[in-house]
Symmetry: D2
Subunit: 320 residues, 4 copies
């Protein structure tokens, strides 16, 4: 299921080393101004090139193929496509024999009976998140009154992020991190009780991003150490402002007008340059694997803009 | 949106103090044995009556209204209904004026323009989870090879749970806790990349349970403090068994055959018997509120069976 | 799949001779007045008792189990249940051996491996349309500006309907008919291009009614004998009124503000009291079957209100 | 809503005079051989160029952008794109002022507040059915045991189709027709009771094709003139073969193993070259319009392969 949403509906496609990746956005209202340049800021934030990111650098040029006319959305489906250009596919030829630890290689081989495109993780690649970022740019225009900011707050448990990136480079290892997202100027009443709660929709999208292993809203796990008298957020004015915001702006699955706050955990990148044990499915022995290809050593550096995108997608879907 | 699922589809209904609560399960295969007695074990685990739970004790008798014939499912929708009996609705009459802190009272009032059934939280009540437990009983029969166990591992940060319940009773306060869920004997290949990943579907359902504020899979947030060389789970045999299971049995959103492991955070119950500040929407002043009605002081005590249920629902939906 | 709709969502359940039949309506806005009496008029129009209809007469008392509080909808799911009372289930015991011609007996036996509730057609029974009528009553309140009227215009090809009913009674045979539905005061812009066109949604619902075999919008099949210069509906004022209405009020799948017009064909009831050939699956011989039970001989008499209901359901779903 | 399907899911995009049109197919099993050449036969059948079709001739070259690797489907979404090449967009500039009779111009203008791409009908164009044909090619591979054939049986009420095309050319008018579709070697049990009946899904898709105004299954409207004793299809062997097939191979919404048969009505093309009345929304007067651009005068000539495609899509969705 590569589609998400009830009113603002996205469908993603593509493979890391295929011809292109992208997204169809269906349900976007007519009359919103949209051009290729609108995507640049967010795409650059997702882009590689910085220390700790992969040396595969793609142009990431968004092509709007449909749904926009005279610079405005038409109400028809919007296809945004990104052509893949800088691929070196021969690097991946031995992943069937030795699946990379903690990567999708093994499950993809089993689930798709060996027919998956295994080059660079194929459809499981983080590259597919380009479509999420593109959809997020459109979603942000729909909920333009809400201001969403996601920030990498720690890497490897350290708020000095640069230090940990340097360590990882030195050790040929990889690191993860925590990203905090805050949405300000939230309206009251987004979300539905139960299956389409704000938390349900955001978490569902967040876990569609490769590498996310946890999410918490408001104080999250820390709530379990608080008593109700400390945790409860007292309303202090008629707009519904609360004295504290331990709930992260959500009660009963519905936004209460206070800031929406959540954090996600990004695991360390699965691909590392130091040697690892893995199973050789040809000779049925445990062997040592040295991963080739070009990889991020801290994918968390590139994830904040994707977290903003999925937040905007969820909120746009609620608000339409 | 009170429905969930693609193949195993559930639709919940009801209010805390209405006539009944329950669920329709659509998509259940024909030929599965099912009778009212099958629900007893799980319903009893969810039931109140123990120390720390509400004094409102309901019969929770499941009535199978459709979809079962001669003791077997027919393939048609299964309606399971629970009549409400032990309600004292006059307790709730003043919640519009003074919404309870961290409860759904305020957002429901705004979202439904005052037409919501406010008695006992109405459709936002934890009582609606009876339908989830009932659907979970059916789901468990569909995935009977998988063994799911959810356990309350800490209350108020303490593994001595009884001690914390006593403290809360003494202090007229409430407490939360952490529940860990393990599914053993998992097949390889459940879940889809991206929006229907195992994590996406389970988290989406978990956050539909009132009071859940966080979820983590495998080592979860702790992954952010590990390097890739420590986090990565090495495959050690041809079945795909991994030496460690830091990923919680999921790679690329898809089950890898190892145990599925996740934890959720249950916040302290919003309703407490000690006095709290809240806003009075009639006179526009901050006032002191003393909550009436009957409430759990540790809802986490009753949640493990609900977590099992939603896990079974998600896995049944994938496996059909 | 027993659910339909994107915003106004209905889920039906029940069997002809089970405990009850009914519907959950999810997505109904809060604040609409609703009580059991509101259903009476439409339920009476669907009811049996008239000449040509079955002698099984059910109370058809609607029970509102959830979603209504103080006489108004709350925004939560509305469960409407009808208990079955006047059932004589022993009549149906031999349908497995000799499936009734043109009935669902054979396909149900194959599809559900013999586990279907075969009594009175089980979940395939026309009795399940009670849920559609109930949902239609609610839908009509949502689109109260639109006036929908469905009329039985011919039976057995004759506009003298009474004459054909008498013939069928005399011949122990059954007859079908044509129902025309007109929705007046339509807004412009309901429907979506392609898969959610007005025609797609209405036809999808119409064919969910047992016995419907055809549908045509506007002049329908007759359009194929007209030239474009005759068929095209010229716009004659700025509201979009057209001189003719051959398109039945829909262009490009979208309502154009003129009357929505369509017709459906109801086949003759499958159950007839005269003898018929059928296959005996026990002795593998073609045999003569005489159907027992109580049946309509012209189900078309009871269908107009169901056609109105599904039209209202489709339009309510578009208009929310 | 530009998506359809539960398991075999299609999402269409594009505009007549935009950059491209196409489809994403999600849910296609892995391991099916697929290359661009596989689309040629069906695309040629849809193509213009014959007498009675438009002089706009497009290359209609399918580009497989994702979801295929080493000549086989991978299980990931398949994007098929067709670039538009032969467009003359200046032809359409005055459609806002004078909407073409019986075309989508007027409703699109109202629904999308003037932001629609009006060139050549934009997203309402029959050109978007290229995506349906492409998805149909893939669907046919999934249900390769079923043989689907759609045939244009009459034009303008005449089985001598060539004669009617010549008349229309001579008169600068347009004509419609009837297409009959037969699916042979059907399995028993496809479809679901009620909302996902075989008729519901096929009709829903059929009405998404521009210009379809009616559909009938089996004998369709003629059923209303038959008595039950004539209409009922007697089962005559243990495979469920029926003596007659008045029901068109469907009982209770479910395929009964006999041939699936249905017919659709294609109205005469809205665009004709002779003068027509229409409303001028600038000066608020009824005026005479002469349509420019290049158009089919009998779109029905190109529709059979689209009808086969939507039948295959519906059946593939059921059979997965």
């Amino acid at each position: 299921m590569n589609s998400f949403g009830n009113k603002f509906r996205i469908s993603i496609f593509g493979e890391s080393h295929g011809k292109s990746v992208g997204v169809i956005v269906d349900g976007c209202p007519a009359g919103i101004s949209l051009c290729e340049d609108d995507f640049i800021t967010d795409l650059l934030r997702r882009k590689s090139g910085a220390k700790g990111t992969t040396t595969r650098i793609e142009g990431d040029i968004p092509l709007i193929k449909s749904g926009v006319f005279n610079g405005k959305t038409t109400g028809a489906p919007i296809l945004i496509e990104f052509e893949n250009q800088n691929t070196r596919s021969k690097d991946y030829s031995n992943l069937i024999k030795h699946p990379r630890p903690s990567h999708s290689d093994f499950v993809a081989q089993k689930k798709y009976n060996g027919f998956q495109d295994y080059r660079g993780g194929g459809h499981f690649s983080g590259r597919i998140t380009l479509g999420l970022v593109a959809a997020g740019v459109i979603a942000k225009k729909i909920i333009s009154d809400i201001h969403i900011t996601a920030t990498l707050t720690q890497v490897a448990g350290n708020t000095n992020i640069d230090e940990e990136i340097n360590n990882a480079i030195k050790n040929k290892d990889s690191v993860g991190g925590i990203i905090e997202c805050v949405a300000k100027n939230m309206p009251i009443g987004l979300g539905e009780p139960f299956f389409n709660s704000v938390e349900s929709q955001i978490s569902s999208l967040a876990f569609s991003i490769p590498g996310i292993k946890a999410i918490e809203f408001g104080v999250g796990f820390a709530a379990t150490k608080m008593t109700g008298s400390k945790f409860n957020d007292a309303i202090i004015d008629k707009k519904g402002t609360t004295k504290t915001n331990n709930a992260g702006g959500i009660n009963g699955g519905i936004s209460n007008g206070n800031n929406l706050i959540f954090r996600v955990a990004v695991r360390p990148t699965a691909s590392i340059y130091s040697k690892q044990e893995t199973y050789n499915f040809e000779n049925n022995k445990i062997e040592t694997l040295k991963i080739k290809g070009r990889h991020d050593l801290c994918i968390a550096l590139r994830v904040p803009v994707i977290i903003e995108a999925i937040t905007a997608i969820a909120l746009a879907d609620f608000s339409l």
